[in-house]
Amino acid sequence: MVETSIAFEMKAIVKRFPGVVANDRVDFSCQIGEVHALLGENGAGKSTLMNVLAGLYRPEAGEIYVGGKRVSFRSPQDAILNGIGMVHQHFMLVPQHSVAENMVLGLRKPRFFLDLTRVEEQVKALGEQYNLNVNPRAKIWELSVGEQQRVEVLKMLFRGTKVLILDEPTSVLTPQEVDSLFHTLRDMTKRGHTIIFISHKLDEVLAIADHVTVMRRGKVTAFGISSKGVTKPQLARLMVGREVLFQVEKKKCETGEIVLNIEKLRAENDRGLPALRDISLKLHAGEIVGIAGVAGNGQRELAEVLTGLRRSTGGTITLLDRKLDDNTRWQEVGQSMAHIPEDRGSVGSVPGLSIAENLILKNYFRPPISSGLSIDRMKVRQNATRLVDEYQIATPSIDVPVRMLSGGNLQKVILARETSGHPKLMIAVHPTRGLDVGATEAVHKILIKQCEGGAAILLISEDLDELCALSDRIAVIYEGKLVGEVLADSVDISRIGLMMAGVKADS
């Protein structure tokens, strides 16, 4: 029988969101026991499609068949009942609870008495079976991001999931952890599990997948092509719809005077634990310095302290011969310092206000925008019209609330606002995270232009390819310390990977 080899089938799925058709009559299916990569740019609709399969979204139209029978999922529970589970990009775990407690969270059994010891044994056994070792009694917050991901995978196995969907699982891992994850995934397929691997990273997809399905703008552009006979450029073309340059053109900038001098900087995270431990770093004009590291090693705190959103607990920051204290940095931001925050929607912009109003967020109180107590509406509109044109922000009007914009356009609004004042220093945090290839290219061009214009840029990113392509130097941050620095033109990815995992640079 042919049907038995098919894990599930999705037919003509349609899912709309305000302003976009995220899935436009998409067909998709998987063979039992394969790793099937779902490749596409951000916004292509791959996460949406999988959220539909996992019962989180309900499609407007289309049918889902599992084991040959038609199903309709009203919740993730329904999907799990049918053996389909998803590990999301943002983990769905309760930080204060233990691993075992998270396992049983949301289960309907047991009804009254919770035998945690039994659960702990089961988790341990499962972990050994699948090489996903994690202490079942550990609290989630004590675990590293990689371990938390293992817990998520275990949680799905514990619920009897046969089809496991992983949404960009490698974005939070070091290269070494990625290897270990891939190993586990192959092991799982041998035991009859089916893996769907969502990604926009071509190398990974070619390394792990048996088959690849490519999506673009809500449609499947190639279904189930074998990963054997296909090349990276071919996949990229399917994904983007045009040829892609993998190398950013970047001239070697003339480096000038020291713009930013950080000495022995210390700060605490939200829990009051040390997040930055004696960070020292110098940035010169016309230089891009990358900060590499696994998420949660102090990058966020570094950016926040530099921009005055977080207090430092020690050390000094000198910007162009001026020592900054916690109170003056606020004024610096928007004058000589620009900040591209990691969270576009919830920090970098005001969703309900218009593009024009978002563009004056940093200079609304200064001439020419403001005169006296009032804001000059004409100047606001002129400013917006000019920047929308200059930065090619695609929008029907400057009065559109920015929550209606795509990620790429929103990022352009933020970049337009931050760079139009010709800052001396830019702090860019994950500036292209979640953007499609086209928007990424645009953002990179803007950054390089700033650098050529003599700005110093501190680029904090998780994307090593991006760091290598843009930076002059790359410093690696691990547990709040800069553990090493490499020049970008002689970069060795595996060495950076080891440093990201805390192995000393010189070993």
Partner: protein, 400 residues
């Protein structure tokens, strides 16, 4: 036996499109539906035929168009109105009620714009009334010039309301104490404060539970005072308080949409994190906005005592809560607030004589309820569909 439709599932989802006219439509539809449900309740409450009742309410609140025409004719010819008080009496009464509603509404709007849920406009208004009375009776001599007296009372009302708004604002800004609780509770403190002074305390005139009448200079000039210049004005109690409200609405609109400070308020209201990122001082603005909100409510209190010409133990409660409803109905727009306050003023005046008592509050409640309900219906789409079979698959360590 199976009920019909029992196998249908209700599905609620966000609408893909959400154009701006939906807000206006849901406000209007909300009022229409509220009148319908209110009518049902009127019927049940034994108030007779709802349509006749609504007609009566309208007549009481605004008068009849034919009478307005007669009034206008009398006004131009300089004769007295043929229908007496029926010409402009109702409109005049409604405008008198509109002024305090408008001011408390604006108080709510400025706070709600920053997502500060000040439901203490009532208490702030009481404090404003108290302070204005103190100026009118105890601080300034009776023969003070009217403009000086009224201005001083207004300043006192603004200050007292502002200080009373400062308390919850400060607690919120410095200690992150929930302003909903503090403002609500401070209402009762203000009620008792006033009661102490007027009913049992130092300002009470024995058994009258009243401060006694203000001197003429401490009261709003009423139109009826100018009956000599035109006989139509006879008996009309309308006073300049309404202009205070309209002026405050224009000022607030300018502040919110044209000024630097208003920009800050709107940024904080929409996304406090972005506000912090832009270097806007949250704590300072929380306090400022609460002071401003309290000041507007305090001005409403001053307006009320200047109109009532006395402060009694029965000083009307509830304007602050009506302000909450009107603020929502006007979608936090100061100009819309002018119109909606006027309609609500009419509702209060028109239902005054209707039995049973409390029809006004009931209709206000129903309107609020239905407007929020219709807005939900517009923002989301409700779909009915037949459920499909869910197939359980066994396996794994634990079954669900």
């Amino acid at each position: 036996m199976k009920l019909p439709f029992s196998n249908l599932r209700v599905r609620i989802e966000t609408r893909a499109d959400n154009p701006g006219w939906i807000g206006l439509l849901s406000s209007i539809l909300g009022v229409v539906l509220a009148l319908f449900f209110g009518g049902l309740l009127l019927k049940v409450a034994g108030a007779g035929n709802p349509i006749a009742t609504y007609r009566e309410i309208f007549k009481e609140a605004f008068g009849m168009p034919a009478d307005w025409l007669a009034g206008i004719k009398a006004l131009t010819t300089g004769t007295s109105c043929p229908k007496g008080m029926l010409c402009f009496g109702p409109l005049s009464d409604t405008l008198v009620k509109t002024a305090p509603i408008m001011l408390t509404t604006l108080a709510c709007i400025v706070a709600f714009r920053m997502k500060l849920w000040n439901i203490g406009a009532d208490g702030q208004m009481f404090m404003g009334a108290w302070a204005a009375t103190a100026v009118a009776i105890f601080l300034l001599p009776k023969d003070t010039n009217r403009v000086v007296m009224l201005s001083s009372m207004a300043i006192a009302g603004i200050l007292a309301g502002g200080i009373y708004g400062f308390i919850p604002g400060f607690l919120k800004a410095r200690l992150n104490i929930n302003e909903i609780i503090t403002t609500l509770m401070l209402n009762y403190v203000a009620y008792k404060w006033l009661e102490f002074f007027v009913v049992v305390g130092p300002w009470s005139l024995g058994d009258f539970e009243s401060t006694g009448n203000f001197s003429k200079s401490a009261t709003w000039p009423r139109l009826t005072e100018y009956v000599k210049s035109n006989p139509v004005f006879a008996g009309l109690t309308v006073h300049p308080g309404i202009f205070l409200g309209i002026g405050a609405a224009i000022l607030l609109a300018w502040l919110l949409f044209r000024s630097r400070w208003g920009f800050q308020i709107r940024v904080i209201g929409d996304n406090p994190k972005a506000a912090r990122y832009a270097g806007i001082n949250l704590a300072k603005n929380i306090i400022l906005v609460m002071v401003m909100s309290g000041a507007l409510a305090g001005l409403a209190g001053m307006n009320e005592v200047a109109a009532l010409r006395t402060l009694t133990g029965r000083f009307q409660r509830g304007y602050g809560f009506t302000g909450v409803i009107v603020a929502w109905l006007s979608r936090l727009n100061p100009f819309a607030a002018i119109l909606v306050s006027f309609l609500f003023g009419g509702l209060v005046v028109g239902t005054k004589l209707i039995q049973p008592q409390g029809i006004s509050s009931m209709l206000q409640g129903v309107i609020m309820f239905v407007v929020i309900g219709t807005e939900l219906l517009f923002r989301y789409r409700v779909r009915f569909e037949k459920p499909e079979v869910i197939l359980p698959v066994t396996g794994g360590v634990n079954e669900l």
